[in-house]
Amino acid sequence: MSDATTRYAITLVVNGVVREAEVPARRLLSDCLRHDLGLTGTHVGCEHGVCGACTVLLDGEPVRSCLTFAVTVDGHEITTVEGLARDGEPSPVQRAFTECHGLQCGFCTPGFLCTATAFLRENPTPTDEEVLEAVSGNLCRCTGYQNIVKAVHRAAEIQAELPTEPQPGLLQAENGSGDSGERGNTA
């Protein structure tokens, strides 16, 4: 069927834009985004799923891009930190991280932003404990997390004040396009 040197032509919808790349099967999604597509906003920390810096949204759900092969998600929709802003305006989560000083060096921030964006979509009014659980898979070595937790709460407030509008990474779920049926279950 193929050997280890075969390159695969894949198509990803990244931040709403159809992007094509030719990748070997072993190309991690994180490397595909950064090297093949030039989207260096997604950061790579540990490359074994512990630090969470590489978290992106796959069909709206946060996943580790370093623990996903690009070829596996051929045809799917990806949202990276570059896709969170709308019309040049930072998203509520991005605004809240700025306001609350939820970052210092910024290395872990793309992962936190993607994780928090998906979390608040599912749970728009979280408790303290729920916020801690939600961000527990992302490591930050600067802030001590206090301001990150504050920022997630603040983002929830900002979001609540906004008129409802489509959230990034939800295109597929909203218009029912793509192959979302594959991800369904029969329960």
Binding site: A4, L28, E133, S136, N185, A187
Partner: protein
């Protein structure tokens, strides 16, 4: 920290996957959620030359719950099973165990069946399957077999799956009447591997006395260690169980290893403490369950 090269197969049906696995023989490895396999590849701890990616095999993305139990297909993600109200109603231990599997983001991608095949002695899902007496269905070209949990977990990171076989689903039996379950664990960091963990299942009689009590211990043996403590509990309500005798019975059955995180003696101690807590939780849940029947 990049995966070694491999030949890639992307079947779209179980039959195609089985053909690829049959051809690959001992060199084949199945990729489902990849949340354990890809770290191992990235760290070059494993280097299978043939990788069979089952993420396009839609027929494996199933989850069915009926009066008998919950059958989880090979592509059902942890998060899907965790969120399923139907699965939780039939077997509450699933949701209790899944809440402790790594982090929510990992659970979006990882699969229940993948966790079972990976057979990590510190993992929650093997303990849940072993405690409940569930099974794993293994398919191969031209055949299928159902392997009981007791025969499935062979050693650390080793299950009964043979080259050429694909784990297509796992079956978790339903909660019996007047029964309750619980899962407790201690980890160094939230979402990290358990230093010790405990799944418990307690069944009561009509007078709310314990008729059956069982635990499955995590991180203290080559695989999940199931201990029946029905006799140690005696036929009495949870409030009058001699807990020291029960925890001693559990501690005597395990053989923990020492590592950088904990001495063997500390793991043994934790196992006793967690057994008591998990059994008490399970008994309390059983009383609630009995009240609803």
């Amino acid at each position: 920290m990049k995966p070694p090269p491999f030949d890639y197969h992307a079947p779209v049906s179980v039959d195609e996957a089985l053909e690829a696995l049959a051809e690959a023989g001992p060199h084949g490895k199945v990729l489902a959620g990849g949340q354990s396999l890809i770290p191992l590849l990235n760290m070059r701890l494993v280097a299978p030359s043939q990788l069979v990616d089952i993420n396009r095999v839609g027929e494996l993305d199933t989850l069915t719950a009926d009066a008998g139990g919950v059958r989880v297909g090979a592509l059902a993600r942890h998060a899907t099973v965790e969120r399923s109200a139907e699965a939780a109603a039939v077997q509450p231990l699933l949701r209790q165990a899944l809440a402790l599997v790594a982090h929510p983001v990992i659970r979006n991608r990882g699969t229940v069946v993948g966790s079972l095949v990976h057979a990590d002695p510190s993992a929650e899902m093997p303990a849940a399957l072993a405690l409940l007496g569930g099974s794993v269905r293994l398919a191969r070209l031209g055949g299928e077999r159902e392997v009981a949990a007791a025969d499935f977990f062979i050693g650390p990171m080793e299950s009964a799956i043979e080259p050429g076989e694909l784990a297509v689903s796992a079956f978790f039996p339903a909660l019996p009447p007047r029964s309750g379950t619980a899962f407790r664990e201690v980890a160094r960091r939230h979402g990290d591997y358990a230093v010790a963990g405990m799944a418990a299942l307690v069944t009561l009689d009509e007078d709310l006395r314990i008729v059956s009590a069982r635990v499955a211990c995590v991180s203290v043996g080559p695989g999940p260690v199931v201990v029946d403590v029905s006799d140690a509990c005696g036929r009495r309500p949870a409030a009058s169980v001699p807990w020291d005798a029960v925890t001693a019975a559990v501690r005597d059955r395990i053989d923990p290893d020492e590592d950088i995180h904990a001495t063997a003696e500390y793991r043994r101690h934790l196992t006793g403490v967690l057994a008591e807590r998990a059994l008490k939780d399970a008994a309390r849940n059983a009383v609630t369950e009995a009240a609803h029947e």
